[in-house]
Symmetry: C2
Subunit: 412 residues, 2 copies
Amino acid sequence: MSFFRSRWVDVPEGVREAAAPGLPAGFRAAGVAAGIKPSGARDVGLLVADAEATTSAARFTRSGVLAAPVVVTRERARTGALRAIAVNAGNANAATGAPGLEVAARMQAAAADAVGTTPDRVAVASTGVIGVPLDAEVVIAGLGRAAAELRRDGDGDLQAAIMTTDAFEKRATLEVQLAGGAVRLCAQAKGAGMIQPSFATLLCFVQTDAALEAETADLLLGVCVKRSFERISVDGQLSTNDTAILMASGAGGVAVSPESEDELRLGQALDALLRQLALDVVRDGEGARRTGRVVVRGGHAPDVEAAARAVANSPLVKAALYGGDPNWGRIAQAVGAALPGTAPLAVDVAIEGVQVCAAGATVDADLAALGPAVAGDEVEYVVGLPGAGHETEVFFSDLGHEYVTINAEYTT
Amino acid sequence: MSFFRSRWVDVPEGVREAAAPGLPAGFRAAGVAAGIKPSGARDVGLLVADAEATTSAARFTRSGVLAAPVVVTRERARTGALRAIAVNAGNANAATGAPGLEVAARMQAAAADAVGTTPDRVAVASTGVIGVPLDAEVVIAGLGRAAAELRRDGDGDLQAAIMTTDAFEKRATLEVQLAGGAVRLCAQAKGAGMIQPSFATLLCFVQTDAALEAETADLLLGVCVKRSFERISVDGQLSTNDTAILMASGAGGVAVSPESEDELRLGQALDALLRQLALDVVRDGEGARRTGRVVVRGGHAPDVEAAARAVANSPLVKAALYGGDPNWGRIAQAVGAALPGTAPLAVDVAIEGVQVCAAGATVDADLAALGPAVAGDEVEYVVGLPGAGHETEVFFSDLGHEYVTINAEYTT
């Protein structure tokens, strides 16, 4: 199976999976088992760009409850000029107060020492359980060992060190053909759908050997995050720790100028990469059977957004998706609930291209014939609201027994 | 087990369960099996007040997708002077377009004929599956049979005729001691927690033999619905069909004047009645183990409300409640997600009276000792936000395996 497995991701021309593994030129990574995860798996990672001129961009959760590493990175790091990322899994270092901030700052300083840069060029990230003190000594010892193991092909170990309940890896190594030559674009992400957002924070680290101005990196990351990680139904969209970082080493010798054709191409490649990763996050609910996509069109942008979120977050719609049930009444109910006071609402609903509701009323559709279509891996719902001019989409996971099992039996 | 089983409902002085069953004086009810429910159970109900002077009040869903009976009752009935309610279960008559409105209007007219009043004094209500045409002939035949069976003790049959997936009855017959004498207060409700809101619409019919002005009925019902059915975490709070109706026959000979002590006492009794019924709705998720109550206090009313809703609607918090897991990190995550841009947020969290988070940071609480407390039938969470002066509460069900089974396997 190739990385680009979803029908909802268009792979741009000139983008292909790299034949050889490994990070883009100028990057090294490592992941070690420091002893935070009870399982003994890798749990401390380090990513380093060797070039002093590396540029970067970052996006963070907007939650009112921010994890310590997010606070430290936002306040003490130059997010446009990062040269390293120090990360741990197994403990989110969130809701840990002033001591937690101190631990995050010590992680930052230790990583800077280990790789020979200043703390303000190091981002820190954590993922795991909330509200449990993180042992700084354990993380710092791990970072020291990771620094000794940094390798160009260390991205697999870094991926392992950021995973928590993820059932599969979420990483890719792409080659993107630009006018100035080929560049490499890599990413390592973690996050497990709507399965356990507070535990399965989203982290996504992206590297390229193209040379980008920091403003270009920021523009591209901002646009692509909006079209990917911000369009998935993860309660954790506003988890305490969500962090996405793009770094550009320039070590490949291809410069991408602002407003150039190459900037557009690289942006399209990054867009496809992050959309597929976001879909992988949605798909990765242990036991999740299906991924849904709801598209809403209409004349009023806030209504369009509210309706799409309501459908994607409805436990009824999610359970019907799990059951392979084309129960469009639940779609109509979710839309109506999201738009109080608008009755009578002329809502249209189509499932997998078959219209089942027109102007708020049932139409004579063959629901039984829809059965096979809603039993596939990906199911698409299109909702039409009155008016035109606005459209949005949200990807969402189903709601199955494993969700309950995992979240009810996970012990603090 | 008495009707008032929750520790979160204070039973006012002078309120007791009636020794003898039956509706308040002046009311008769019936419920028959008309053939709408595939099970062959009762599915058409009729409630009638014999006195011409009966007053009433009603509250409806605010959903943008309104069921036909809600539209017809709102637009064609005098909701302050209702004398009858015609109801069916097994089909919500929602998203059924103009033909659905015609069916609801025919239900209204048929019930008026059958009981000897005008259509504008008849409310209609439906509950069941959305988007399927309702056969008017079947309902009208059922209403005719129900009219022939109207009895003072028909409230049990009426209850049966409004239930869908409810696992138990939700009704009560209370006696309320007022200065002017004792009055009777009865209610029949249906709705099954957060289990299947689009299918398990909330209906609640309340009768008293006290004499009330319509304005008094409206005031009391409005206040009490706000403190009961609007404080439970049911997606169906905005379902397509939600309807609550209070009727006062005056046949008991006790008049309750506006702004009198008796009005206060009757209001307190109605408050306790509706709060317990709302808690019963939350408790009635097939297989639901526990009911949660989140109380949020703080200085900013919209934040207090948003935080309480976010906690009550979080599938993570609900799953932890199901699992008996005192996982307060999920509470903090939900609050943070509800209040973006407020970091650092000094949030306090207490579970069953034990503080586990102070000013956003973990405190050294004995979570293991909390185990027995969170394994009971009712679990209370208190969240403190900065400031003071506002407080709210939301009651919510847990999220267990049966939710998934029911909602994934229910076939359209």
